[in-house]
């Protein structure tokens, strides 16, 4: 109780609400979450920063490492190379993905479902896969090498083509969402005012999708600049920041310089991320509740034109995938094209053999299980805790950070932090645990946003109703919140599974001989010249991701019929 003041007193005591059990539990939960993020994200990054100011003997040398980096043209050139690759890939992917998304959302083209599925395939694959395919097509022994007119596929050209393949679905998903919302009345008004098709496109369609386009641009830029696998496989002598880190750390054992490059790689990623957040904040809901959804009408010439475009792009995507698939079954490229399964006997090419694949499955399963729990519970606490604004704000901010941290940088930071002498958590170093923790952290932000979106669709007064009915929030969470959010929860777990299955950059520094992963063996086998086996492993990963994805679709469908009966009117 507050102390009782005389009613006439000029200064009235401020009321502090007493906390009930739910409040205490939830605040405790948020503190735990902040602690988790400190250990898995903030402290490791701090160690990375610290390391970049030291020499190999561990003495503090200020900015000397940075000065050395910027005054060595061989190192500094990578900055320009990385920016060049990222900007060029973005410039190519954006228009392609926009037209493709436009065809899916705004035309009456045939086979939309097929084209959508085709375009999303690259998400299920490690980024290395297109690079391997390109080597088969245009590499030193590629059967289409002549098409390159003497230009080597190893280098900027190969990297850019692979990045376009790898980034396309990510951009497409954002643009499809951006183009899905349209108010038919705007188009009718434009028609009534006699605007030409071109004018309508530039005054109605494009402005409506503006924020999606900007967001997609930043996403591609960040993906390209932080990706490691593609440049490693097909980059040749073309150095980029991501491969530089690897060379410094693994090749030269110069951890300090690796930390410097890592920090430099962090800058463009953080800038792109911050710029995107600032621009998105200016977005206002263009679609009022009264909007009439736009139903595309058939325009045969346009529809067939778009069909041809999608067939071409979708065909190329499928072609790249099929190339690797075919190569993985070929006996000896290009001399003996007889089909065989021997490339799948991974034990013949890598000491870990199939064990690496099973490690990946274990990692992906744990990441999905633990990650979904942590992320959903975290998002719930941030959304529903009453009061405690600073705690919620801090957790919210930390949940957004991983998006801006490249996997390679996070992995390096983990070495410094968990391998540091005296760290009581050091025992997880070189185990499966550190891989799971790293993957959960690396893919936290997108999962968190999915969970938040899903939670925001619930009536904000459920918790108030529970309190008035004297029901604990835990019970309401179990009875109502989780069941209603189940589709979102499944989406998160599948996202985490597929990403943990395919990622290279986040784990390349952290695996041990016992926990080597499938995607890592692809790089190793490719380095040792076993390209066919590398392709076979990549295809195995795609098949696994695809199987899980299909299971997810089936499960969601089944769930919609059994446990989600209440959604039907």
């Amino acid at each position: 109780m507050t102390s009782v003041a005389a009613p006439a007193a000029a200064s009235f005591p401020a009321t502090r609400r007493r906390l009930d059990r739910d409040d205490i539990l939830m605040r405790l939960g948020i503190c735990l979450l902040i602690g988790w993020m400190l250990v898995t994200l903030v402290l490791p990054l701090g160690m990375l920063l610290l390391k970049s100011f030291k020499n190999q003997q561990g003495d503090f040398i200020g900015l000397a490492n940075y000065i050395h980096y910027f005054s060595t043209p061989a190192l500094f050139a990578s900055v320009w190379n990385s920016l060049f690759i990222a900007v060029t890939s973005t410039a190519i992917v954006l228009p392609l993905a926009f037209v493709y998304a436009y065809a899916l959302q705004r035309s009456c083209m045939r086979w939309k479902g097929l084209f959508q599925a085709l375009a999303l395939i690259p998400i299920l694959a490690p980024s290395l896969l297109p690079a391997i395919s390109l080597i088969y097509l245009f590499g030193n022994q590629g059967f289409l090498k002549g098409w390159m007119f003497g230009v080597s596929i190893y280098g900027a050209v190969g990297i850019i083509i692979s990045q376009v393949f790898y980034c396309f679905p990510h951009a497409l998903m954002i643009l499809v969402a951006a183009l899905s919302m349209a108010d038919a009345r705007l188009y009718e008004a434009a028609d009534a005012l006699g605007a030409s098709k071109t004018r309508v496109f530039f005054t109605v369609t494009l402005p409506g999708a503006k924020y999606g386009v900007i967001s997609a641009g930043f996403v591609i830029f960040t993906l390209v600049i932080t990706d490691f696998g593609i440049a490693k496989v097909i980059g040749g002598r073309f150095n980029v920041l991501a491969t530089d880190i690897f060379k410094q750390v693994i090749g030269q054992q110069n951890f300090e310089m690796g930390a410097v490059v890592g920090f430099i790689l962090l800058i463009p990623a953080v800038v792109a991320f911050a710029a995107d957040r600032i621009i998105q904040r200016r977005q206002v809901a263009l679609l009022s509740a009264r909007a009439v959804p736009l139903e595309p009408r058939p325009v045969p010439r346009r529809d067939w034109g778009l069909f041809a475009f999608c067939a071409l792009v979708g065909g190329l995507i499928f072609g790249l995938l099929a190339m690797s698939a075919w190569a993985s079954f070929v006996t000896r490229w290009p001399y003996n094209l007889a089909l065989t399964l021997k490339n799948y006997a991974f034990g013949d090419f890598d000491t870990n053999g199939w064990a690496a694949y099973w490690n990946s499955v274990v990692l992906a399963t744990w990441t999905a299980a633990i990650g979904t729990g942590v992320v959903f519970l975290g998002a719930y606490l941030m959304e529903k805790t009453r009061g405690f604004a600073w705690g919620r704000g801090l957790a919210q901010f930390m949940a957004m950070l991983p998006m801006a941290v490249p996997g390679l940088v996070l992995g390096l930071a983990y070495i410094f932090f968990f391998n540091a002498r005296g760290n009581p958590l050091g025992f997880i170093y070189a185990t499966m645990i550190i891989l799971v923790v790293n993957s959960v952290t690396h893919f936290y932000t997108v999962s968190h946003l999915t969970a938040t979106t899903s939670l925001k669709q619930l009536d904000p007064e459920f918790e108030a109703v529970s309190a008035s009915l004297k029901v604990s929030l835990l019970r309401t969470m179990a009875r109502v919140t989780v069941p209603v959010c189940l589709p979102g929860v499944l989406d998160i777990s599948i996202y985490l599974f597929v990403n943990a299955m395919t990622t290279v950059s986040a784990v390349i520094f952290l695996y041990s001989t016992d926990t080597k992963l499938a995607a890592v063996t692809i790089i190793n086998m490719d380095e040792s010249g076993f390209t066919a086996a590398a392709a076979a492993m990549a295809i195995t990963i795609v098949a696994t991701s695809a199987a899980v994805k299909i299971a997810h679709v089936v499960l969601t469908h089944r769930l919609a019929r059994t446990t989600q009966a209440w959604r039907r009117r």
């Binding site: 109780m1 507050t2 009613p7 009235f12 005591p13 401020a14 009321t15 502090r16 609400r17 007493r18 906390l19 009930d20 739910d22 409040d23 009536d459 007064e461 459920f462 108030a464 109703v465 529970s466 309190a467 008035s468 009915l469 004297k470 029901v471 604990s472 019970r475 009875r479 109502v480 069941p483 209603v484 989600q564 009966a565 209440w566 959604r567 039907r568 009117r569």
Partner: protein
């Protein structure tokens, strides 16, 4: 049912003492004090942003006040969390759990109490009958209309027999016909179970028809507390006169006690306030209080006016009047009978009277919304 006359003697069920709520520099509630008596149906009425919902949420413990005290049934609840207070609540959005059946929704709080199943089932059936939905138990909320969902929400709020029922704009999301019907239903329900009820609304018609007492709020302060008739007949401020019903506002200057000059017309008024001669005041009169019949030489406050326009509204006409050849400055509601008998048409000159007992005088200029 309680009447305003009797409640004043009883001890208040809910006492709010000097409640203030700040959001940073913005003051949502300024030093609010209010007593609510057992069994009363009170409406918090005001425009959006006036603080009425903030006050309701402070009473529920959902958004705690910055300072001030609240007592419920003689117990101080100022700093209790919502889960430790005694109330049932209904929201504009219904907030029904979409994945639970109507039965599970209504029984939600009962199940947690650990009551035997049979007892819960009996109670749920009883509640569903009470809100007139005895057969809806097996349905999901999405299968019900808005009005039906709101009844279920009402049953759920009453399940634990709370001492206080809080309704936060419960009818605002419904269409006009359902709204009018549910208005009567809620009122009838209140009379049957007699639970002390507070309803927040921005709809003056809702407040006038349902409340025992209305608390009119504006910009974080209470403008007036009174029965519907008091609030309508004797608005305590220009804001209330303007917000509840329609009112003509005329600028005037006090000539001497009991007389206010409007233009060059001296009007006799019953002055509640006592501003000195020469003070600027605002005169207010409802359109239906403007008199045109039975005007004789002795009738006070009589002057000629000209009809500038007539708006036909079914059972009556709203007539624009210009005084002394000026611009239209007054509207009056005349019944169809009057319009016919006096053959009122546009341009007609006729004498009108503003009865002194119907004229209200306020100290400052009204703020037109």
């Amino acid at each position: 049912m309680t009447t305003p006359g009797t409640v004043a003697n009883a001890a208040p069920y809910l006492r709010i003492e000097r409640l203030t709520k700040r959001y940073g520099p913005f003051v949502a509630l300024k030093d609010i004090s209010l007593d609510i008596f057992p069994g009363e149906f009170v409406c918090f009425l005001g425009p959006s942003g006036c603080g009425k919902t903030t006050l309701l949420r402070a009473i529920a413990g959902l958004d705690v006040q910055t300072s001030g005290r609240i007592f419920q049934a003689d117990k101080e609840i100022s700093n209790l969390p919502a889960s430790h207070r005694d109330f049932g609540i209904v929201f504009q959005s219904y907030a029904l759990f979409p994945n639970l059946t109507v039965t599970a929704n209504v029984g939600y709080g009962l199940v947690s109490r650990g009551l035997p199943k049979v007892e819960i089932a009996t109670r749920v059936n009883e509640l569903l009958r009470l809100v007139g939905m005895p057969d809806a138990g097996r349905k999901y909320p999405a299968q019900l209309s808005g009005g039906q969902q709101q009844r279920v929400a009402l049953a759920r709020a009453l399940a634990l027999s709370p001492g206080l029922l809080l309704l936060d704009e419960p009818l605002s999301a419904l269409d006009a016909r359902v709204r009018a019907y549910l208005r009567i239903e809620i009122r009838r329900l209140h009379q049957r179970i007699g639970v002390t009820t507070i309803m927040v609304t921005h709809d003056q018609e809702e407040a006038l028809t349902m409340a025992d007492r209305i608390v009119v709020m504006n910009q974080g302060v209470i403008e007036q507390v009174g029965t519907p008739v008091e609030v309508y007949r004797k608005p305590a401020s220009a804001f209330v006169a303007d917000f509840v019903g329609t009112t003509n506002f005329l600028p005037g200057v006090v000539v001497r006690p009991g007389v206010v000059r409007f233009g060059d017309i001296d009007l006799a008024c019953d002055l509640d306030i006592q501003p000195g001669p020469g003070s600027d005041v605002t005169l207010a009169i409802r359109p239906e209080d403007v008199v045109v019949r039975n005007i004789v030489a002795a009738t006070l406050n009589t002057f000629p006016a000209r009809v500038t326009d007539i708006e036909f509204l079914g059972s009556f006409c709203r007539v624009g009047l210009a005084i002394n050849g000026g611009a239209p400055s007054l509207v009056a509601d005349f019944s169809i009978n009057v319009v016919r008998d006096l053959s009122i048409v546009e341009g007609k000159e006729l004498p009108i009277a503003l009865p002194p007992g119907r004229l209200r005088v306020f100290p400052r200029a009204p703020q037109k919304p």
